[in-house]
């Protein structure tokens, strides 16, 4: 039986200590302005060097988290990075403070390096590996630093860290609760070597571990020199507390202004493991005064044989991604911003799983909630407020990661997760603007798509296509979601490569558009085996396919075509195979018939939509040669469509009566819980 920590009280800021209360008065307004920003910049600098030191694909894309915490373990400052890790990162620090600070065989001293990747102890899923290091001033522990990163390899049953085949935690590789892996600013070589021995890409693992520790060390150095050295240790302690307090008060003030009420949404997911099934996640959000409760009761039970389970602190941290990036985007992203929120879960549910549950893909479940269910409820709440511009469609998240393992073109072992599809998700539409195309990674919007050349330099494939928008894979509406990209991987300079992928939302989109807008399309995955691609390439043939549509529609490449979902168990693919996948588009805002026809033809011109969609969805009439809009004909077509909609409409009672008679096959709902309400 795995260990599971009770994290219920660990993600909210602790009550200020007397020391903090005394110190906070030392921070004058002008100094706060300068030094609060300085703390953020210290984290930003650490992020920059972290990215430049590391090896994992997600590190190279900047999809990381760097933060500074109080001595009690509350988030006090951070870079614009993955808030998910920054919030859960409080838990291992608090655990260390509670358990090891006074433990004579362990203890906490200046220069200590702690490592953790155990989801039940404040991690997310075990590929997310965290290093925390204490900040000491003389003999006093005054704060903590954190550097976190999704490592693309854990020594699980499959390479890549997010094994869709995992049935229990014991299939998922490393599970390390907080452990001291270094002292006196030195990693312990025996432990480092032991960790490296557990994974398929020991070089990547080792260099990334070093990078995490070095990033923490940099933050400690800067805090000591530039904050404590100039303003004193009391000022530093007061500064962190004030940064938390400012977010607390401002957050509560904003919530207070929003309309009281109960807001509900439900979402369904088709991902439970290596095969299909249906599960439900339900959110009832109650807002009263300056307090919001998110109740996830009614969610399906834990899946006993699949890796899409997760833990409540992950869902809470997931909600922080929405809260910090959208709702409170102008407040300090500190622990204080979470003060107005409380959460309720059902023990043993998909979102509060047992210690033995597999959870390698649980971050996707939490991600769906974070970017679909939670924003959907908040959009309804803030629409009638002065912050209505923060009601935005959801990003195309989480996009399917492509995981790989094998030898690279230099004969060295590699294993990991390619971040192409993650860092090219389409953004959600806004109330006055389309979502940006291929905007980034919803978990870390400032992360970036690494250039194809950088990836091809290190890893044994080439991109038949990648830097190309995928038409129509976004949600359509008055303002459409941003579109994603199409990616074609071809193993190159090696005889074969092992690869697979994991993703939910394959059969139907779990998300919804906002205020009448549509969801984005579901992803399509294709593998062409035994292809003649390399021969076509050598001939520079005109039939070489350069996007998903050319592959699927024209079948220009000879070979065996497999059209799959994004849940793809690992398999070896030889050098003449093609693996295709998209990154996902964002959802939309408002009715498609209200979209400015000019925007539709602009999308045609920029290859983001198709003629089929322009007519069948948007009802826009235009000259196909000049792309000039016929406004009169468009208005007429739209009026006709509105009338047709009315004719298709049915009284709600009739619809509900029929709908309640429907029931999926038992095989589909075997992990759903009791039908219709778990």
């Amino acid at each position: 039986m795995g260990m599971k920590l009770d994290t219920a009280a660990m993600w909210k800021p602790a009550a200020p200590t007397e020391r903090e209360l005394a110190c906070v008065d030392l921070v004058e307004a002008a100094d706060f302005e300068i030094y609060a920003r300085k703390l953020d910049l210290i984290c930003a600098e650490a992020r920059q060097i972290f990215v430049r030191m590391g090896a994992a694909q997600m590190l190279q894309s900047g999809d990381v988290a760097l933060g500074i915490y109080t001595a009690q373990g509350d988030l006090a400052a951070c870079d614009v990075s993955i808030y998910l890790h920054l919030v859960t990162g409080q838990i291992p620090i608090k655990y260390i403070m509670q358990t090891y600070l006074s433990e004579p065989t362990v203890g906490v001293r200046d220069g200590d390096i702690y490592f953790v990747n155990e989801a039940t102890f404040g991690g997310i899923h075990n590929p997310d590996m965290i290093v925390v290091m204490p900040i000491f001033h003389e003999d006093e522990l005054v704060g903590w630093t954190l550097a976190a990163l999704h490592e693309g390899e854990t020594g699980a049953v499959d390479p890549g860290g997010m094994s869709v085949a995992a049935k229990t935690r014991y299939d998922e590789g490393m599970h390390w609760i907080p452990i001291k892996v270094g002292e006196n600013y030195q990693l312990k070589k025996d432990l480092v070597d032991m960790m490296a021995n557990q994974v398929r890409d020991p070089r990547m693992h080792t260099i990334d571990l070093k990078a995490r520790a070095a990033a923490c060390e940099r933050m400690i150095k800067r805090v000591r020199e530039d904050v404590i050295g100039r303003k004193g240790v009391d000022f530093f302690i007061g500064l962190m507390r004030k940064n938390i307090d400012v977010a607390t008060e401002a957050g509560k003030a904003m919530v207070r202004e929003l309309n009281d009420g109960t807001y509900r949404t439900v979402m369904f997911l088709d991902a439970v493991g290596a095969d299909y099934g249906l599960v439900r996640m339900k959110l009832t959000l109650t807002k009263k005064g300056d307090h919001i409760v998110m109740d996830f009761s009614g969610t399906s039970p834990e899946t006993p044989d699949g890796p899409f389970n997760t833990y409540k602190h992950v869902v809470i941290a997931g909600s922080a991604m929405y809260i910090y990036q959208f709702l409170f985007s102008d407040l300090p992203p500190t622990a204080g911003a979470m003060t107005p929120f409380d959460y309720e879960f059902t023990a043993g549910s998909l979102l509060d799983a047992s210690a033995d549950a597999a959870c390698a893909c649980g971050v996707l479940t939490a991600g769906f909630l974070s970017f679909y269910a939670i924003p959907s409820c908040f959009a309804k709440m803030i629409f009638d407020s002065r912050w209505r511009d923060r009601a935005a469609g959801m990003w195309g998240t989480p996009s399917p990661p492509f995981m790989y393992g094998g030898l690279n073109q230099y004969g060295l072992p590699v294993a990991g997760l390619a971040s192409d599809a993650l860092n090219t998700q389409g953004a959600g539409a806004r109330q006055d603007h389309d979502g940006e195309n291929a905007a980034g990674f919803s978990f870390c919007p400032t992360g970036f798509l690494q250039d194809a050349e950088f990836t091809e330099l290190q890893l044994p494939w080439f991109y038949l296509f990648r830097n190309r928008h995928m038409p129509d894979n976004h949600g359509m509406g008055k303002y459409r979601g941003g579109t994603g990209v199409m990616i074609g991987y071809v193993p190159h300079n090696v005889p074969w490569l092992v690869c697979g992928s994991s993703q939910g939302g394959n059969k139907f989109p779990p998300e919804k558009g906002l205020f009448g807008g549509y969801a984005a399309m579901t992803p399509v995955a294709v593998q062409v085996t035994h292809s003649d691609l390399k021969q076509l390439m050598a001939e520079s043939s005109d039939t070489i396919p350069y996007d998903v549509f050319e592959v699927l529609d024209k079948r220009a490449v000879e070979g065996d075509y497999a059209i799959e979902s994004m849940i793809r168990p690992f398999r070896p693919i030889p050098g003449d195979d093609i693996m295709l996948m998209p990154s996902l588009g964002g959802t939309s805002y408002g009715d498609v018939l209200e979209r400015d026809p000019q925007l539709v033809v602009d999308d045609l011109r920029s290859r983001v939509t198709t003629d089929w969609t322009a007519w069948n969805v948007y009802r826009v009439v235009y000259d196909p040669e000049t792309l000039r809009v016929d406004h009169d004909a468009t208005a007429k077509a739209r009026a006709e469509e509105r009338e047709a909609r009315k004719k298709r409409g049915r009284p709600y009672d009739d619809f509900e009566k029929e709908w309640l008679q429907k029931r999926p096959a038992d095989e589909i709902i075997k992990r759903y819980g009791d039908w219709p309400n778990p």
């Binding site: 300068i34 430049r52 900047g62 260099i207 992360g447 050349e453 920029s606």
Partner: protein, 708 residues
């Protein structure tokens, strides 16, 4: 000493700084946007006159003429570039629109990046329909795995031409490693559209403009270069011809944003972007170190159109950007960082239609029509007009009296556009304009410095630019600095800064090389491979330096390597202890230097040589040092400045109007102290010293402003 001329063409003024053996003279003239050489020649004649020699004699005897220009910046801001077509690798046509995904965040501050819901990607410089994909592919070893076909190129080029393409950008994957396909495209275009025809358009290859790993920044650098190329070429060609006609037979050196200079024929347009402010920053750093031994200096340059900020911290200009951005575009050149906002003497004051508050800029009246007081058709009130109304600027002594200003026009413009709509007095409106523009600038300095992790209150402020001394006491108050230093040549400071720059050429070559192979545990023993890369760059450097009149023996070589440990993707720039290698000790010394510098920049804990050591890029710097002007150190005289007093006039201050003493800047002596309130007039600027401040002339004749 030698003779040199440095010219800086800004949006409003053209500035000149001339070193003539042991003398220096300065000149300033309005920028003539319709024909830049007019203003250029005007300012040269002014300097020649001050030296007492003819223009021809000055140009004939000058050793070095350096030139910086804002043409590139203006073209980009105004989106005035030509219609370009992009030819890239098929399947990757949207590289510049995807922009590494987070293109929306490029050029934004951390705070701006947090506003995820407000993200906007910038409007592209090349519309999607002007981008075409070619069926071709080169792999990571430089092998052409899909050969390029002529028919495909012809078809795509014809499409671009039919759609009005005025310049071709060619950027193919891995072209820096194997440029053959890009060169074939160029050759095919030239064959089909030879130079003899009117429709001939420039062709820019990414493998020539920016030959480094990373397709996005390489492509954007090439696009920016193509976008700016035409106008730059026109300007510089005309300038060179004019100078030749007047007697200057040596090559003109163009100031680069990388911190060096090179002649026109070796200058990529993209390297001139923001070169003036970079020159100013380097000049300030030179003065801070050589005259004052200051470690931390903020430089502020308030000109006619913009307000530029730069930071020298811990004794150096250390802000080469890791991932440099021009405008909103990521590029791959090593340029020095400065920040600009739209606040200058020509910035227009207006009233917000909704909030009824006074706003300043970013629109500028520029030099034509200029502020209302210029009497050249401008009717909107500017910051300069407010300074005239307040009595700071003497309308009869602007540019030493060469440009008489119409004070009544200033009054009328402020009355009509600001005072009457707000029902306030004209002077009150002018004071509000000054207060707002000073606040905008002060807050920007504060933010920029704090964003770099420094406390701006611990810095010395250098203020220059034509409007800098007039407003520095105002914006310094918002920054909280204790001392501001001004210079007698404040209005031509960027031109002075260029005079401190060495001739520096930087050459880069991406070449992947494994110095230590973890698989075999062996070090590189193919020394010719390493030396060949260096020699390839040296050949080009020697060619360029000789073309500029410098003998190869004068060149100082410096080699930097972009290196990384195995599995890392990003590399660290390392100063190589050897320019060439000849044995295992040399290789080891380079690896040791990598570990040493890596440990310093990152952490010793993170060093991982056992994982493999690789080189990605060779960066060769060829430097010919240029002798810098040495400022004479004068004996301090008495504090009394009365000998320089030339009268008094009514001046409006925060505390109200009062009769204020007026001093002549050139008549002040080292050691003199002017107690505020006072106005100090110079030919090219006006120093405004409010009550509570003193203006002290130091031993280098620079003006130090401190609390009384």
């Amino acid at each position: 000493m030698s003779k040199s001329i440095d010219i800086d063409i800004g949006g409003t003024f053209t500035d000149c700084f001339v070193v003539w053996d042991d003398r220096t003279v300065t000149g300033k003239s309005l920028t003539t946007r319709h024909n830049l050489s007019l203003g250029f020649k005007r300012v040269l004649k002014e300097c020649a006159g001050k030296l007492g020699v003819s223009l021809h004699e000055v140009l004939d005897q000058t050793d070095t003429l350096r030139y910086s220009t804002t043409i590139a910046t203006n073209s980009l801001v105004e989106r005035k570039g030509p219609k370009l077509g992009l030819l890239t690798t098929m399947g990757h046509e949207d590289t510049i629109y995807i922009g590494q995904g987070s293109q929306w965040a490029h050029g934004l501050t951390n705070e701006e990046q947090r506003n995820v819901v407000g993200m906007r990607k910038p409007a592209p410089l090349i519309p999607v329909e002007m981008t075409v994909g070619l069926r071709e592919r080169v792999d990571c070893f430089g092998n052409a795995v899909i050969p390029l076909k002529r028919e495909d190129v012809l078809e795509k080029v014809q499409y671009l031409v039919d759609n009005g393409c005025r310049g071709f950008i060619v950027s193919l994957l891995w072209s820096f490693l194997n440029p053959a396909h890009e060169q074939m495209v160029k050759q095919i275009i030239r064959e089909e559209y030879p130079d003899v025809y009117l429709g001939n358009a420039p062709i820019m290859l990414s493998s020539e403009v920016a030959p480094k790993l990373g397709e996005y920044a390489r492509t954007m650098t090439t696009i920016l270069n193509g976008y700016l190329h035409g106008e730059m070429k026109e300007e510089l060609t005309a300038l060179a011809e004019d100078l030749r006609d007047e007697g200057f037979q040596k090559p003109v050196l163009i100031v680069h944003n990388t911190g060096g200079t090179a002649k026109t024929s070796r200058t990529a347009a993209v390297a001139t972007h923001n070169a003036g402010p970079v020159a100013g920053l380097l000049g300030a750093a030179h003065l801070a170190r050589s005259l004052y031994d200051y470690e931390n200096v903020i430089v502020s340059d308030m000109g006619g159109t913009s307000f530029d900020i730069g930071v020298m911290a811990k004794g150096g200009v250390r802000f080469y950007q890791f991932d440099p951005i021009i405008d909103r575009w990521r590029v791959n050149i090593s340029m020095i960082e400065t920040k600009a906002i739209g606040a200058g003497g020509g910035s227009i004051a207006w009233i917000h239609p909704t909030y009824r508050t006074i706003q300043i800029g970013p629109q500028s009246a520029g030099s034509l029509p200029g502020p209302a007081a210029f009497d050249m058709g401008g009717t909107e009130p500017t910051v300069t007009d407010a300074d005239i109304v307040l009595g700071y600027i003497n309308p009869d002594y602007y540019l030493g009296g060469r440009n008489r200003l119409n004070k009544e026009r200033s009054f009328a413009a402020i009355r009509e556009h600001i005072a009457e709509p707000l029902s306030i007095e004209v002077e009150d409106a002018a004071l509000r304009i000054k207060r707002i523009v000073d606040g905008n600038m002060g807050n920007e300095i504060f933010k920029e410095t704090a964003l770099k992790g420094f406390d701006p209150r611990e810095f010395v402020l250098f203020s220059y630019g034509g409007a800098g001394p007039t407003h520095c006491c105002g914006y310094a108050g918002y920054v909280g600095v204790q001392k501001t230093v001004t210079f007698p040549f404040a209005s031509v400071f960027c031109a002075f800064g260029a005079s401190t720059m060495d001739v520096l050429h930087q050459y880069e070559l991406s070449k992947h090389m494994i110095l230590f192979d973890p698989k075999t545990g062996s070090m590189l023993d193919d020394y010719d491979l390493f030396n060949g890369a260096v020699e390839e760059l040296q050949r080009v450097a020697i060619r360029d330096m000789q073309g500029e009149g410098f003998d190869a023996s004068r060149i100082i070589w410096s080699l930097e390597l972009e290196m990384r440990y195995g599995t890392q993707l990003n590399s660290a720039r390392v100063s190589s202890p050897r320019v060439k290698v000849g044995g295992p000790d040399d290789i080891k010394s380079i690896m040791d230097m990598h570990t040493s510098e890596y440990s310093t920049v990152y952490s010793a804990m993170a060093a991982y040589p056992e994982g493999g050591v690789e080189v990605d890029t060779f960066i060769l710097k060829a430097i010919v040092p240029i002798e810098k002007y040495r400022f004479p150190k004068l004996a301090l005289e008495g504090a009394d400045p009365s000998a320089a007093r030339k009268g008094s006039r009514q001046v409006w201050w925060e505390e109200g109007a009062r009769d204020t003493p007026i001093f002549e800047r050139n008549a002040l002596r080292a050691g003199n102290i002017v107690v505020g309130p006072a106005v100090i007039e110079a030919e090219d600027t006006t120093y405004v010293v409010p009550a509570g401040k003193v203006f002290r002339i130091d031993e280098f004749l620079n003006g130090n402003i401190e609390d009384a």
